[in-house]
């Protein structure tokens, strides 16, 4: 395995080096928070869960073995924590004001919107913001495994082999997950994409 500076840092963390741990937190906080945020859809909760991820890393530091890249190990923890959260929510469902409304005619879902009678035609900025919201909505509608694979691909530029390790599935299954996710994204975003 090629030299991984993060693995080196994590080996220091395993010996109780808090400064090395802080370096890793600074480096990975953004991708971890973004991955969790896209999974749970709430920034405050995403930060709490991301904090939990790093706390877990510190708690189980003695179990870290440099057989895989640090990021693979870290995002395996991220995925487990996200999955636990998704399961917890399934056991204790709550209604959100942001929950999309279901259209009675065709069953399609749209975010809750209140019409503004004084609204001006949307600017490019507004259209971009709308597209971003649609991307988030499309992403959150993906099955968990597809969404996680896509997020790892995007935030970490992770190679397929590493994504397969995090997802605990074969390389071909990972490619298939990502392909299906991309197809679903395309189908959902198609009406909002500029020609």
């Amino acid at each position: 395995m090629p030299f991984d500076p993060d693995t080196e840092l994590m080996l220091k963390v395993r010996r109780g080096n808090a400064a090395a741990f802080e370096t890793l937190v600074i480096k990975y906080q953004r991708p971890v928070i973004n991955t969790v945020y896209r999974s749970v859809g709430d920034l405050t909760e995403a930060e709490d869960l991301a904090q939990n991820v790093f706390v877990q890393v510190w708690k189980v530091r003695n179990r870290y073995k440099p057989t895989a890249k640090f990021s693979t190990w870290l995002f395996t923890i991220v995925r487990n924590i996200c999955l636990n959260e998704v399961r917890r929510r399934a056991r204790h469902p709550t209604d959100s004001l942001d929950k999309p409304m279901t259209n009675a005619d065709d069953g399609s879902e749209t975010p809750w919107q209140v019409p503004d009678p004084h609204a001006k035609p949307p600017s490019n900025e507004t259209l971009d913001a709308e597209l971003r919201r649609r991307v988030d909505a499309a992403l959150s509608s993906l099955p968990e495994a597809q969404r996680t694979a896509m997020l790892l691909l995007r935030h970490q530029n992770m190679p397929y082999e590493e994504i397969a390790k995090v997802m605990r599935c074969s390389l071909s299954a990972t490619k298939s997950l990502i392909h299906r996710a991309r197809t679903l994204l395309r189908d959902q975003l198609k009406p909002y994409l500029r020609p």
């Binding site: 808090a18 197809t183 198609k190």
Partner: protein, 155 residues
Amino acid sequence: MLDGPAADPASAPARQHLAACPDCAAAWRDYESAWKAFLSAPEVDPSSNFTARVMSWIDGEERKQAARPWFSLIPWRWLAPATAAVMLLVATTGIWTTYQWDADQAVSQELAANLPVVQHLELLSDFDVISNLDRIAPQLDHDPIEEMLNALWNS
């Protein structure tokens, strides 16, 4: 076409097909646009005190760890099953030993019943006598110790 062997748009067969098939070309454009939209969606920024929060938790945890009394280091979770296992082992060994001891006693008693009676204990210091005990024992008809005790009693 996107699922087939020509799925890589950089490949020559894919390029030829995309150039010739407007439907596939449109589908590929949508596919690419959606992917670009996904990639360009902005990331959220962590709050400015995120690292400080994590590190403060770690510091607190380390301080708690250092201040823990010695008995908190005992793995109570494992202690109860381990104690039960040791007790079970001791009980099993005890029962087995007792059974063995009873069996040994029975054998000893059986052996003792068949041993020749020795009345002259001083003879047992003689190796030749011990070696020929079977033949000597029936010939002895008096016990010198008993005689000595009788003499003492009578005096």
